[in-house]
Symmetry: C2
Subunit: 310 residues, 2 copies
């Protein structure tokens, strides 16, 4: 029996038929220990899902306020977990629900996505859809530092979750210099790629802060670049590798001329610009992208929502 099928069977017997782990073990001729492990794994991998038929009124209120304050097209507020380690997962859950509904009802032809922990968690919670006509593409260059939150894994994972087509952007997030960036993007293949990126129907991104908590700050910045330098230049965070000030404008810094991602004016022409992020260290950048209209759909946690509404 295929492993996934094993998980579904055991989980069905446990959650729907209400058997104990021991009974399931006997039924399926495996040890209780295996049953326990399989059931945990089924929850962890998203084969079994827990969902809620109601939102908390607190979240609903905050969503209304966010939409009004920032003229957002939509907003999703998830409860802030006590344990900060759970924040990405909770945000990912909220985002996956939203994206699942959006994909099913609006049938976008193309989706551009970023990378990072929140996006990684989103994939984990995505419903399985069958959308082979949709193209999922990276919106920006990635880290050369391999990891599962890297752009390749995330684009592929997302495309797989919805059985869509996958388009990579094979470049680092930063070129070595502005001149180097000009040389790269003047190539025909990159020009075509950038055009396609700017033509997506939906963009789904996260934002980063300017601290060592950011993987990009840790692994993506060119030699000699640090968070202090960026902060001094007025940066409160980044969107697609572009460092922004508190008003959501690009800081006047060389780094922003080395970045391999769409110009913000091009980005703004995408109809559906979703930004999902949360946590205390993200309040400033979240406020910046909401206030400036860079994001027209915001997905965040309740504490962050309150902070940016204050």
């Amino acid at each position: 029996m295929e492993h996934r099928e094993l998980m579904v069977r055991a989980a069905w017997l446990y959650h729907v038929e209400g058997l104990t782990q021991q009974q399931i073990a006997e039924r399926m001729n495996i040890t209780r220990r295996r049953v326990n492990e399989i059931l945990s794994e089924a929850l962890e991998t998203g084969v079994v899902r827990i969902s809620f038929d109601s939102a908390l009124s607190e979240s609903v209120e905050l969503e209304v306020k966010l939409r009004k304050r920032f003229a957002l097209r939509d907003a999703v507020v998830v409860p802030t977990p006590n344990e900060t380690a759970l924040l990405h997962s909770v945000l990912g859950r909220g985002a996956a629900g939203f994206l699942g509904r959006l994909i099913q009802t609006q049938k976008p032809a193309s989706i551009g996505i970023g990378w990072g922990s929140t996006l990684r968690e989103t994939i984990q919670h995505m419903p399985s859809l069958n959308e082979p006509q949709i193209k999922v593409r990276s919106m920006m260059g990635g880290l050369t530092h391999g990891s599962e939150i890297n752009t390749f894994e995330i684009v592929r994972g997302f495309a797989q979750a919805i059985s869509a087509q996958c388009r990579y952007f094979a470049a680092p997030i930063y070129a070595e210099s502005p001149e180097s960036r000009e040389a790269i993007i003047s190539q025909t293949v990159f020009q075509r790629t950038f055009r396609q990126i700017c033509d997506v129907d939906v963009a789904y991104l996260s934002v980063g802060d300017v601290s060592q908590q950011s993987l990009q700050v840790r692994y993506g910045l060119p030699e000699g670049m640090s968070e202090e330098i960026l902060q001094k230049a007025g940066a409160v965070g980044d969107l697609m590798g572009r460092y922004l000030n508190a008003s959501g404008q690009e800081i006047d810094h060389l780094l922003n001329r080395q970045v391999l991602s769409p110009e913000l004016d091009d980005f703004r022409r995408i109809g559906c610009r979703i930004v999902a992020s949360g946590g205390a260290h993200k309040h400033k950048i979240l406020h910046a992208v909401a206030q400036s209209g860079l994001a027209n759909i915001l997905i965040t946690d309740a504490d962050s929502a309150r902070a940016i509404l204050a």
Copy 2:
């Protein structure tokens, strides 16, 4: 705090944040016993839902076979539970998933529904949708015997689940005589009602067998009518109160001229005719409605699917 909100909060803390019941009790200033009860209730009432990201391959295979054999528009096969008491719930779960998807993607203007245990369970598992433009209406008369599987409760429950409009059919399933039926349906209000019923985009019904297991046989038949009489006349079960033989044709019996439900020829003109039912006592009637094309979407359990495919 509203009770539903209490359930969502407790369930979130338990299922998402992973707190123990004791920790939740402390967080929410209630006893652990209350937490335990609330968590159980949340699952029971559908506030918290367990879903599966994969179907069993066995179910998928049977669905394919059903569609081919009977030229069905679609089929849903749910695993047959060991405990027959769970059958309605499992069927309701499968049907709710299917209906939820159908409503969201196809946006029907009107849905006609029947009544019975399977339909009752369907409501319990329906996702909350917001579809105020949809009209949900009874397709046939009901039992005068009050119960929560009665047509009124079911139409209202279904309409509430999807925030739709609710239209009752205020009549018993059987008139006293064929003449009485003629008198009833010749009234303008009933003529208009029948036309609206026959104009629904989607019909969602169950079927009954000819035994004391059927509530209709127990409480709905007129005086002097019994299952033996119906069986002698060739009946294997009923659809909307119309007793059918093994080929899916109405038996030649007075009772079928007393029934307050659409003529089968009218029924066949509805585009989407869903029948959900299962269990050993339903195999014959399920085969009859599938074979004859009365149902063009079938929702049943794996054992029943195998039986009607044999």
